[in-house]
């Protein structure tokens, strides 16, 4: 069977995707930091970010997206894992049980009184792992036509 390939016109999709990508991306960052004391966090944020990238993949194609974001997602996953484990393992060196978190309040310029928590570093690791794994899967399936 011969398939006649029509030239698809996704101008609107491509144009929208460019804008919506940033909206989703910034929203995912907001969700990531909201996870500090309220619902949200690295996992949801990571999924949102990867969905933003997937939107780009749908609007353009894998090759273009790889040119825009030249990231090796396997390494990204590994970095995230190391970051998460290192945060969890750090208390070993100060004689506390594994996974003990530390937090304190700081007066930062611009932000005012802010609470900083090592759990955020762990969450950043989770974020990287989720984005890395999801994108690896999408690339594996999407690579061959």
């Amino acid at each position: 069977m011969k398939v006649t390939k029509l030239k698809t016109n996704d101008l609107i999709l491509q144009f929208t995707a460019k804008i919506v990508f940033f909206i989703i991306f910034f929203f995912s960052i907001h969700i990531f930091f909201a996870g500090h004391y309220t619902p949200g966090g690295g996992f949801v944020g990571g999924l949102l970010t990867s969905s933003a990238i997937v939107l780009l993949v749908i609007a353009f194609d894998l090759k273009t997206v790889r040119k825009i974001l030249p990231i090796n997602y396997m390494y990204m996953t590994a970095t995230g894992l190391i970051l998460a484990l290192a945060t969890a393992a750090f208390p070993i060196f100060v004689g506390k049980p594994f996974f003990t978190h530390f937090f304190d309040y700081f007066n930062l310029p611009l932000f005012g009184k802010t609470s900083l928590h090592t759990a955020a570093l762990f969450d950043l690791g989770v974020f990287l792992v989720v984005v890395g794994v999801t994108m690896t899967i999408i690339q594996t399936i999407g690579e061959d036509e």
């Binding site: 190391i82 484990l85 393992a89 996974f99």
Partner: protein, 496 residues
């Protein structure tokens, strides 16, 4: 150093992550994984000695008090198993240099091994029932990776079955934990053991015991639930098979052992009798399979099933001798199964086939391999003074003490069938007319031969030197027979 007991787990986990960055450089991957396995083994040895000297070690994550945080517990049982699995993986990794193939090495074989080891050791060490589920998933995910690695048609076909079985068993695990939580209201294993008697609802607890037997039985391959094991394990290459055969089913056995000595001790007449019946049926099923096949891999794979039955028979006795024998036999079986799979792998490599009927006469060319195989086979069957003997003796002694005379005699008789099934490989492959061989490289043969031989020597040492191992086994069996030691040690760790 309160965190010292975590080192064997953390080192392998960390190495796995590091190795992902060196995907292209095989030699660096090999060196790093061997060194870190060596270091982790030494750490595990020190943890074991420390536990033997100072009693059970425990650490609760995040500085929470004990029943609220996730506790990791190193007692006699877990440290022995952690040390054994690290030691075996060291030799299996060395063995895979010559046999796994460059393509797989490029594609995250070594990280897979490291992560599977993290999962296995974590499952051995954890003191929290849901955390055990998480570590089970860690080891299962890496086993999924290892079983499909290479992407041959047979691997793809069999791995789908393997993964589906494990997904369903994981769902059952979650459901069972949910039931347990709804009744007891806690997830820490020591806390559960403490509260389970106070709650006094024997009926529902027995139901949960049966559900746990199903969940862990699927992983440990006991009688009605072993159907997936022979075909799935035959698919991946030999080093992966050795790793799976030595470690994966044993995690299930350990979980049954732990839950049935710690939680479900209120209705032994029903639960442990059931365990005993399933153990005997498992041995029968395994024996039939081991005798029926002419494929060397299948013969040893069915011997895994037999060994699981023997160990669970020891657990079902619920007395000191039976449990000490089960521990002895568990460690013995991990070592000897890895050694046998590695030996069989060499035979398959030399002959180019896994069909016994096409082999023969290897004794003339490879005499030392033949003798080492014979020693390993005798060790598996439990001929004194080799390693299987002490464990089986104690298990049978425990069986007699518990009044299960006939089934104990049956266990003894089954050793003869085990011996027959592995001696068949010796007769077909090493004696008789010379069969087919393929051209092999001397260097690769050496790479396979040395780790295998050292492992066989370790198993001999384990059997002959069982006198020195006994104190460790004693302390393991003491924890198993007397759960209050475990509970007190964990709860005491709560208030420093």
């Amino acid at each position: 150093m309160i965190n010292f007991l975590l080192f064997p787990i953390l080192i392998t986990f960390f190495t796995g992550m590091i190795l992902i960055f060196f995907q292209k450089n095989i030699y660096l991957q090999r060196t790093i994984s061997l060194i870190s396995l060596g270091v982790a083994t030494i750490c595990a040895l020190f943890v074991m000695l420390k536990v033997q000297r100072d009693g059970i070690q425990s650490v609760t994550f995040g500085d929470w008090p004990a029943p609220y945080g996730i506790t990791m517990v190193a007692d006699g049982v877990s440290t022995l198993l952690v040390l054994t699995s690290l030691l075996l993986t060291f030799f299996i990794t060395w063995y895979s240099f010559g046999s796994i193939g460059k393509e797989r090495e490029h594609f995250f074989y070594y990280p897979g091994v490291m992560f599977i080891l993290t999962g296995v050791n974590g499952a051995f060490t954890t003191g929290d029932i849901f955390n055990m589920f998480v570590f089970f998933e860690v080891l299962l995910m890496s086993s999924y990776l290892l079983i499909v690695l290479g992407g041959e048609k047979k691997q793809l076909r069999e791995s789908i079955q393997y993964i589906l079985v494990n997904i369903i068993s994981s769902a059952l695990f979650v459901i069972t934990v949910a039931y347990l939580y709804s009744i007891i209201g806690t997830l820490s294993m020591a806390d559960i053991a403490m509260k389970i008697t106070a709650i006094n609802q024997p009926g529902i607890i027995t139901t949960i015991a049966v559900l746990f037997l199903m969940v862990f039985g699927l992983k440990a391959a006991i009688f009605p639930l072993y159907f997936w094991l022979p075909s799935s394990y035959a698919a991946p290459p030999i080093p992966v098979l050795a790793l799976f055969g030595a470690l994966l089913t044993k995690v299930g056995v350990y979980a049954i052992m732990r839950t049935y000595t710690l939680f479900f001790v209120h209705d032994i007449a029903f639960t442990h009798q059931m365990l005993l019946i399933f153990a005997v049926l498992t041995i029968i099923a395994g024996c039939i399979g081991a005798l029926a096949h002419f494929d060397v891999k299948q013969i040893i794979i069915y011997n895994i099933v037999i060994a699981v039955g023997v160990i669970l028979f020891g657990v079902a006795q619920m007395n000191f001798d039976g449990l000490e024998g089960a521990m002895f036999y568990l460690v013995h079986d991990m070592i000897i199964k890895a050694a046998l799979f590695m030996l069989v792998g060499i035979i398959v490599y030399i002959t180019g086939t896994s069909d016994l009927r096409k082999m023969g006469g290897l004794m003339r060319k490879y005499p030392s391999l033949g003798w080492f195989y014979l020693i390993a086979a005798f060790g598996l069957a439990g001929i004194p003074p080799l390693s299987g003997f002490v464990g089986k003796l104690l298990i049978v002694q425990g069986g007699f003490a518990a009044g299960n005379t006939w089934s104990s005699i049956f266990i003894l008789a089954s050793s003869l069938i085990v011996l027959l099934s592995v001696i068949r490989i010796f007769l077909y492959a090493f004696w008789g007319e010379e069969g087919q061989t393929v051209q092999i490289q001397e260097k690769t043969y050496k790479q396979l031969y040395y780790p295998t031989v050292i492992l066989v020597v370790i198993s001999i040492a384990y059997g002959v030197g069982s006198e020195w191992v006994t104190p460790f086994m004693d302390s393991a069996a003491r924890v198993l027979t007397n759960p209050s030691i475990y509970i007190e040690a964990v709860m005491k760790g709560a208030q420093p």
